[in-house]
Amino acid sequence: MGKSPTTKDDAQALFHSLRSAYSATPTNLKIIDLYVVFAVFTALIQVVYMAVVGSFPFNSFLSGVLSCVGTAVLAVCLRIQVNKENKEFKDLPPERAFADFVLCNLVLHLVIMNFLG
């Protein structure tokens, strides 16, 4: 009764299915995802700023961007380790993963603060 499904319909169907699947994830994972998105956006805004005003001082730019990227990476690691569906980390308690996350972030930010200048 209608035409053959167009790519637009396919994209929309894909998007809906992804959305419904995503809503099934547990909340703590969603929090982590949100955190990652926040970090990436901050990095993007910094890159745009650099594009506008020039790369002086370059070390500050690098430290800013790398702090966002680094913390996003660590959050992703945390998500992997905390995810109950991940068979590899079954025996790792999530608190331990969280402690690692906190420690690594603190070290990262020490280095970032030093490089910030």
Partner: protein, 742 residues
């Protein structure tokens, strides 16, 4: 020291031609190192340098004598001993730390002071007397030391005991008996002779005087020279001088009369030595030694001094010694010709020899000198002549006659026979007016000394006719000076010049025209005058110079610069040329080097292959002078963005954070898992507080702390955080495990 006027004279004689030869100018300089007069060819001296030299009046110790080519006779001036010798003696003979280094040196210094009339300082006397007494009383002194000590004693008259002297006499007499070499004889005989002069009742007479004379004579050679000892074949004139002195000493100390024939042969030996005398062109005679003698001295000065000493002491013992008086005069001229020597030994030789010549029994040389050899017609200088002995003492009554005046370039001159009038106050012979016809120029005046007392003719050596170079200077009139620019033969512009005054011309010419300069030069007597230099110089603004000689015909000097022919010489450089005229001569008192102004030359353009003008010398002050200052440019600070942009982006960066917080709320975060019971709650709070503290520390680190304090504090907080975190998280873990199992 030499006066400035005399130095100017010296400068003039340096540059002036000589009476007989007009081509080369020869002069002699006394070289202190080799004790010889060496020939000095004076170069063409720039006239402005000459004026500067005369004006600078710097004092030197070189005395230049004028010499002539061999055709003509000697023309020179010799000056007797003067104040400059006295001051030189004081300078050269200054003792080190109050005493002299050896008795020989002490004797040289004291003898020089005595001859020149310089007072001895009393402390030197004491010091030296001590050394003398030591030497005389010591048993280890040989005859040489005794000789020197006795010589000094003779001058200082130290207090010596009679016993010491008697002891020495026996030692010296033994030394005479045992002597084998000339120096042994010399010292021993000399010592005995000195003792004879210094103390009255001593017996110093020699028994075997004949034998001693013969043994000394055995050392003589056929050419007049003497050997030092029989086994040493070396011979020298210096040794001959020592031998004569020793022989005269023996004759004086002889106990019995000596064989006359022996003395006659000795006199012949002395005369034979004079065959080897050498001569300089200016009339001075000297003896030269080709070998270094025993005491290490070589050269004509020591040899001639030794011969003069020996000769005069021998002449004082016996009457007729047949030496021609011109040779004695020549020896005196040799010593005077040195001027003021540079070292103490040479000064001693000079002064000692001259004092022997002053009072010798053969003939006493008389020196004719002119205090000033440059006479100015403008200031009406009178011709002054001084006749004295070599040491500057008054001569016997005599008259000086000006016999002839030769002008430069001619050998013949009128015979004048004008007697100079004697001024007894100043002891100078003067001529009130110069002979007629003596205009400015270079002359040679021939004088003759005539002794008033005919007896004096045998005693004094006057040297016949003495020729002296004299310069007569005056103001040269420059008349009728004009400069003109000619077009063909027609005069375009003509200007009168005021020479030698200031002029400021501003001419212009092109390459088809000519520049003509003319003037007249006349001497004070109205005769034509040809100066040594009459030069016209054109200097371009870039520094390239061209010099032209102004020719003359009689009185009239003129030069025509035809620019058509000179275009290539001028390197095709057009522009402003400064004109300078130089007219100068040694006898011209108003020589001048005047800038006349400038001429603007318009020359055609240079063709392709024209020669380039020579590069001008770089002014060394510019080349090595300070360079331009470099200001350091600091790194310009980077451009910073305007503050509004930065603040805008600061706001933008915070937007994701706000979005994060909003998203968290949307997701429904809660604090349900926060522990409620006290202890875990405290730990939880401390855990979060610890993290906050670390973040705060990081902010402080960025603001003002350094890494080390940060790390220290971080370490402290970190350990605390670890502990607290561990407790909290393990509590949470156990709580969730309980929940799972439940």
């Amino acid at each position: 020291m030499l006066s400035g006027r005399r130095l100017f004279t010296v400068a003039l004689t340096l540059s002036a031609g000589v009476a007989c030869s007009n081509d080369l100018e020869n002069s002699y300089i006394f070289d202190g190192r080799s004790n010889r007069k060496i020939l000095f060819r004076s170069q063409f001296i720039e006239f402005d340098q000459l004026i500067e030299f005369g004006m600078a009046m710097k004092v030197g110790i070189v005395v230049v004598l004028l010499a002539v080519a061999s055709i003509c006779e000697a023309v020179a001036i010799f000056h007797p001993i003067s104040e400059s010798h006295r001051s030189a003696a004081l300078e050269l003979f200054s003792p080190v730390a109050g005493s002299f280094s050896s008795l020989e040196e002490a004797y040289e210094a004291l003898r020089t002071f005595e001859v020149l009339g310089i007072e001895k300082k009393p402390d030197i006397k004491d010091h030296t007397c001590n050394s003398v007494v030591d030497a005389l009383s010591s048993m280890s002194s040989n005859s040489r030391d005794l000789y020197h000590a006795l010589r000094v004693n003779g001058l200082l008259k130290c207090k010596t005991s009679k016993e010491a002297l008697t002891g020495i006499i026996s030692r010296l007499k033994d030394a005479v008996k045992d002597s084998t070499s000339l120096l042994d004889y010399y010292h021993a005989i000399g010592g005995l002779l000195l003792i004879k002069d210094q103390s009255s009742e001593v017996d110093v007479l020699l028994e075997n005087a004949d034998g001693i004379l013969r043994s000394i004579k055995a050392l003589s050679q056929s050419d007049g020279r003497w050997r030092y000892s029989s086994n040493n074949p070396e011979s020298s004139t210096y040794a001959a001088g020592l031998a004569f002195e020793t022989l005269s000493g023996v004759i004086q100390l002889a106990a019995s009369a000596i064989d006359e024939n022996l003395i006659g042969t000795l006199k012949k030996d002395i005369v034979k030595l004079f065959d080897s005398i050498e001569k300089y062109d200016d009339g001075s005679y000297y003896f030269d030694d080709k070998h270094i003698d025993v005491s290490g001295h070589q050269g004509p000065l020591s040899a001639t001094a030794a011969v003069v000493r020996g000769l005069t002491t021998f002449a004082s013992t016996s009457e007729s010694l047949n030496i021609p008086e011109d040779k004695i005069l020549g020896l005196a001229r040799f010593f005077l010709g040195i001027g003021v020597p540079g070292n103490s030994k040479d000064l001693y030789y000079q002064i000692d020899s001259l004092s022997h010549l002053e009072n010798n029994r053969v003939s006493v040389p008389l020196v004719l000198s002119l205090p000033a050899t440059v006479l100015s017609l403008t200031s009406k200088d009178k011709l002054k002549v001084k006749v004295s002995t070599v040491l500057g003492s008054i001569a016997p009554p005599l008259s000086v006659k000006l016999m002839q005046v030769f002008s430069s370039g001619s050998k013949d001159a009128s015979v004048l026979k004008q007697e100079l009038h004697f001024d007894p106050k100043e002891a100078i012979h003067m001529l009130d007016a110069l002979p007629e016809g003596v205009d400015i120029g270079k002359y040679v005046f021939a004088f003759e000394i005539v002794l008033s007392d005919p007896e004096d003719k045998r005693k004094f050596a006057t040297g016949g006719r003495t020729k002296v170079p004299v310069h007569v200077t005056g103001v040269v009139k420059v008349d009728d000076a004009k400069v003109a620019v000619l077009e063909g033969d027609i005069v375009e512009s003509e200007k009168k010049l005021d020479l030698p005054g200031k002029n400021d011309l501003a001419l212009s010419a092109n390459h088809l025209q000519k520049l003509h300069l003319s003037f007249l030069l006349t001497t004070p007597f109205g005769k034509p005058f040809k100066p040594h230099q009459a030069l016209l110089k054109l200097r371009h603004e870039t520094g390239v110079e061209h010099i032209f000689v102004v020719e003359n015909s009689g009185r009239h000097f003129e030069i025509t610069l035809d620019f058509l022919g000179l275009v290539e010489k001028f390197f095709y450089l057009s522009g402003q040329y400064d004109i300078e005229l130089t007219v100068g001569d040694a006898v011209m008192e108003n020589s001048f080097l005047q800038p006349l102004g400038s001429i603007e030359l318009d020359l055609p353009k240079a063709p392709e292959k024209a020669t380039q003008p020579p590069p001008q010398a770089v002014n060394p002050y510019l080349r090595y002078g300070p360079k331009a200052e470099i200001a350091h440019i600091f790194r310009a600070p980077e451009k910073r963005p305007p503050q509004e942009v930065s603040f805008a982006f600061l706001g933008l960066v915070l937007v994701p954070f706000l979005a994060f917080l909003v998203g968290l709320l949307r997701l429904g975060v809660n604090l349900k898992n926060f522990p409620t019971s006290t202890i875990p709650a405290t730990f939880a709070i401390l855990f979060h507080g610890g993290i906050a503290a670390v973040l705060l520390l990081y902010v402080l680190f960025w603001l003002k702390l350094d890494l080390f304090t940060t790390l220290k504090t971080l370490g402290l907080i970190g350990t605390f955080l670890m502990f607290v975190g561990h407790r909290t998280l393990s509590h949470l873990a156990s709580a969730s495990a309980k929940l799972k199992s439940a």
